[in-house]
Symmetry: C2
Subunit: 514 residues, 2 copies
């Protein structure tokens, strides 16, 4: 057995058995090991940002570490943006990066670079493997690190010769410490704040947004009358009929402050104290004012599910809350494509247990409110703000959940970053239905310029915001990647084509011209 | 005047007047300044790798700093791979990265990251601007750094508030130190080695491959009978009829060692001592053996042009060498598409002063030999090995040289990394003719696996190398981006379509099915 084989076997034995890969020469022994050892599924991605974004989506939906195989510093660099998103999502990720042979590094060959410096900003743990014998041990540690504190990124740099040299048996991963339990004081403080007869909010984020956390949150709301609110970009949000109705914090700071300011206390459960996405002059960074009480029930790293259940018990909350149980499906829309009709089209047709990768940005603002009582579904968003996550994240989610439909609501400007994901969807015949929201602009930047007081855009600013000249033809792009596509210009056609795409297996793309 | 305006004015005053941009919210004051100050051309790129690769191509052809405008850490990260190439190419580049407002950083907003750690591996100079007042000074220093030592990368991180605060006048760039002159000893040693009556080679790289350096190299060869050889991936190589014939060092180490080992001495002029692209067991990193004499005439950072001219004078070389002066155009090929017919088609039709961005990788090995006496042209390659540079680098070169045709010989697997460059070519109506070499695989990886002794590829290895299932349809991808395209399957059709594309203005894509 060589180092690469001991590595791959260690991963498979720990249940890490899907690898999103864009390998090169320095990873060939690992490719060979994947070929020779049964049990690892290799998914080729034609750009590393697709590999890392897919690993993130896979991790969010499988609750196992997402695995990438990347080529040296430049290959890893191409994946950093979506590791940034994954880090903010607290997704467990393991990156395997092939490196030049130890004896070849000093030659400073063309592809040599400082991989550690590139990896640190997105990794909780970076290790350079020292020998084939240590490789299985390093892999086991990477797995353990990835799974701690609800999810972290572990990056393992593996020299070519260490992959090839002789190694012994794979290593079993030791017991993984659970995320820290919160102390009694935190439960007590939260209970006190939530019992008070005043406007109060339980502010949810991170792992609180999954099934068990939401069930406990609903109990707490029933017992105390508190408002349930959540962070603007949750990593994974279980929602639709049968889940509690939760108000999402608005994106722009003025609206966010207006939404949260009526509450005398804010109890944070798995969420950080919410901050502005960007700093605007005269607007504070933090949305909770010093006059409001902030109670930290659980940080994003803590065991928030357990904390919420303990809190519900401490409050003497009833066990089962029958909340939002009657599905309310909006009627199928007709007429022009607007944020409302787009949202209604998707919400009305959403199949049960669909996974919605929502990178709709400015085009579908009403969707979350409209779908809150639609069929039970999961929403994924971008906690890190690196645009273009949608197509790869949808890809990884579809591989994790082959029995569920993935709907990717996708802004056009963002989609251009990672359109290569469509090819992987075609190759793997994934059940991803992409709706491209083609407004032919970086609309958000126009809004931001107006916010900054610009009344009329000059030619250069228009050049930097508009995606016309030429208009991007997404049906052709999808065809080029092997994904059948269709263009729609009315809500009626969107309904018809979305319904048809749901009835067919495999990836489909609908280009909605706004 | 605000900080952003003083920055943009400083750049324009120094002649840096094209900006390859993918801005976001934190860069809006710079976008506004570009809008309001006359003289800066903003070129929108729909992915940051296109922006950095285009800045590299622009710098190589304009001999001025290439300028990028990028969004925070994740936006910058998307551009790192081609900055890696640009660093190895010694292209002068200035990166402007917008950052959160200074007062907002502590809030650790979603897009916050350690930009310096990401920037250092590809930058000779990284600075975080401290105030609007200092911004013009910082820009002037970035320009000066970029232009030193033949070309370096300067990265300037600019907080949003510093862009907006009041600033004074722009700053003029001080005198830039020329690249270091080489000492008399180096000239003397080189002259001694080259005068010896034994097999000897003058090994060229970097800035030695431009017009003046080549003229001096030809004189030296005429005076001493030395062989002229060059590095495998020169950043910019002036070639074709009227330029000296130079043998390019082969890619694989065994062939490279066989090519260089007959020479008793190797005189390095603007090139590093050549090393293997990857480390292979049993093959040395360095190609020059300890038994051969290595003479460093000039490092890549030195003024190699001056050194070559001084050396030619010291050798009493004749002033004007009439070498390779009779153009030898290969006949137009016919029949199947093979490396030979592909190369002949391009070499036979190459217009005078074409710029050839050569990322043909495995598909067109004979091209360089076949074109050495073709019409005078410039070849650009990838000194850093980060694949996908071709389309963006061609884009930047076309903007730098609007009167020249750019031919991008482009491997399909690599092209998928940066296909968004086609959109910028369409928008700017650039004279780029892309020939996609569609072998439907990462062919090089198959070769590498065979080199590693794998006789038969298993299913997983095939999955990681093959780009079939589905086959990528480049004509549709080009159409989606607004570039007219056509598919060819024979050399006859390639000749016909390439000739037609050259007769038309604007970007064209030819997909050659191999």
């Amino acid at each position: 057995m060589n180092g690469a084989e001991s590595l791959i076997r260690t991963l498979i034995d720990a249940g890490v058995n899907v690898c999103f890969a864009n390998p090169g020469t320095t990873e060939m022994p690992m490719v060979r090991a994947i070929d020779e050892v049964a049990g690892m599924r290799a998914v080729l991605c034609l750009f590393e940002g697709v590999a890392t974004g897919a690993a993130d989506g896979h991790a969010r939906m499988s609750e196992k570490p997402g695995l990438t195989l990347l080529h040296l510093g430049p290959g890893f660099a191409n994946g950093i943006a979506y590791l940034h998103d994954a880090r903010r999502a607290r997704s467990p990720i393991i990156n395997l990066i092939g490196e030049h042979a130890t004896w070849h590094l000093a030659a400073d060959a063309p592809l040599t670079s400082d991989i550690e410096s590139l990896a640190r900003p997105v990794s909780a743990w970076v290790r350079r493997n020292k020998s084939a014998e240590a490789l299985a041990e390093d892999a086991a540690e990477a797995i353990a690190v990835a799974l701690q504190k609800n999810g972290q990124i572990a990056t393992l740099i593996i020299p070519h010769d260490c992959q090839m040299d002789a190694a012994s048996v794979p290593v079993a991963v030791g017991s993984i410490p659970s995320p820290p339990k919160v102390g009694e004081d935190a439960i007590k403080q939260a209970a006190e704040a939530l019992r008070r007869d005043e406007p109060k909010v339980l502010f949810l984020g991170g792992y609180a947004m999954r099934e068990r956390g939401l069930k406990a949150a609903a109990r707490i709301a029933a017992a105390t009358g508190c408002k349930l609110m959540c962070e603007t970009f949750p990593a994974r949000w279980e929602r639709g009929a049968g889940t509690p109705i939760i108000e999402r914090l608005p994106y722009f700071p003025e609206a966010a402050i207006a939404a949260i300011s009526p509450y005398k206390s804010v109890t944070l459960a798995g969420a950080r104290s919410p901050v502005s996405f960007f700093g605007y002059p005269g607007v504070p960074s933090y949305f909770i004012s010093p006059e409001q009480q902030t109670v930290v029930l659980a940080t994003p790293e803590d065991d928030v599910t357990d904390a919420l259940e303990e809190l519900a018990d401490a409050l003497g909350a009833p066990m089962n809350i029958d909340q939002n149980s009657a599905a309310q499906i909006p009627p199928r829309p007709s007429g022009k494509l607007t944020p409302e009709t787009l949202s209604a089209a998707v919400a009305s047709l959403l199949p049960e247990y669909a996974i919605v990768m929502d990178e709709s940005n400015t085009s579908m603002a009403p969707f979350l409110a409209m779908s809150q009582s639609a069929a039970r579904h999961t929403v994924l968003t971008q906690p890190g703000g690196a645009i273009g996550l949608g197509p790869p994240c949808a890809t990884g989610a579809a591989i994790a959940c082959p029995d569920r439909v993935v709907v990717n609501l996708q802004a056009d400007g963002s989609a251009m970053y990672t359109l290569q994901a469509l090819w992987t969807q075609a190759r793997e015949q994934l059940n991803v239905k992409t709706i491209i929201l083609n407004n032919r602009s970086y609309r958000i930047l126009g809004i931001e310029l107006m916010r900054a007081g610009v009344k009329e855009f000059g030619k250069q600013a228009q050049q930097l915001i508009g995606l016309t000249q030429p208009a991007i033809d997404w049906v052709s792009l999808a065809k080029g990647m092997g994904v059948p596509g269709v263009r729609v210009e009315t809500a009626d056609d969107l309904v018809k084509e979305f319904e048809r795409s749901l009835a067919e297996a495999g990836p489909r793309l609908i280009e909605a011209i706004l």
